[in-house]
Subunit: 197 residues, 2 copies
Amino acid sequence: MEELFQLLNGYHPLPVELQVVLMNQLPKEIHRANKPILDAGQVCEWLGFVEKGLLKIYYELEDGTEKVVWFLKEGDVIGSMKSFYKGTPSRLCIRTMEETTLRKIRKPDLYHLYQKFTEFNVNARLLTEEYYSRCEDHLILQIIPLEERIKVLEADHPWMLKDSRIKDYMIADYIGIHRSTLSRYRNGKKYRGREKS
Amino acid sequence: MEELFQLLNGYHPLPVELQVVLMNQLPKEIHRANKPILDAGQVCEWLGFVEKGLLKIYYELEDGTEKVVWFLKEGDVIGSMKSFYKGTPSRLCIRTMEETTLRKIRKPDLYHLYQKFTEFNVNARLLTEEYYSRCEDHLILQIIPLEERIKVLEADHPWMLKDSRIKDYMIADYIGIHRSTLSRYRNGKKYRGREKS
DNA sequence: TCTTTTTGTTGATTTCAATCAATTCTGATT
DNA sequence: AATCAGAATTGATTGAAATCAACAAAAAGA
């Protein structure tokens, strides 16, 4: 809870009264590792603050394979955003990767807070700007050449590579390449199929 | 100008006083077609409202080729968002594609408005949510199989295909494929290289 | 510790889209 | 209408990454 207040206060001072309300409206949810939190087709009716743990947001392809779009860890805000904003069925799924502690707020509660505490919209605006920036970054990541993606990842998201919280094959997925390709590039093998004499 | 007020009012009522300020602080800028508005490396110090025209936001690769990330037309808000929010150099470029009328607001002016009119943060929050949703959509577009991308484009952005405002080769670029590939898929040719007996 | 499972590496092969190139089509301009 | 430039189509070829497959290494369980 303290971490959430810190996050929000970092953007704009939170009225004490609002802190009290949040304290009561955000019950703690603990989920075991590998638990589905949101399925494709569902409407995302909440936003979550990750107090502890690790989750992935991913897209499920027809053939059952999945494409990871985000990894989110403690300190992050999670949800299927478009679905939440627009009330449309989500095309993204959410699933824990480690045991995770969440603080969820439901849409009507949040909207009520926006109304009651106009200033809270400042926090929300800035938070949304932050996540928009991340989204733009990720879009660019998909565009740049393969080799650069790996470098950018190391530069921008070192935590993903540390402590083996995230397996290599999921990292590969995240940057849109095959596990084997990532391995080859890591080890400077590139592709040698048939070497040019 | 009327269109901008309509956009903002659609999210949350605009105080008249704020309308007056906006009226004075957003001089009209008219740019000819194919004019660079923002180059890579520059910090984006403004947000623009497109009153008329068409622009592209794109990423320039080392080899000089470009990858279009967004097409924006009348009624849209434009800028290199992360650069604007964080004050960092933009990796994206902006360029007009048709003669374009813009209403730009500079960062300090906007921030001043956020401060003076707290309620304006509601408009901004909702606007940011809208653009975040678009960004999420575009991210998903890059992930789904090729053929689906074309369908999604037709379903979600029919205007891009109408009136040949946007050439096919740029559309192809936008969905991350080659012009020839788009043509083949459109005409149901797929790839027949050497047919299996 | 030994077994089992999961993950990572790497060679061989395949595949699908990019590239190259020629041709047609379109639309603008004189 | 004739010319010309840019855009779209389409066949042939190439190529980079996916896939397949075998194995090694690491992690998890017994």
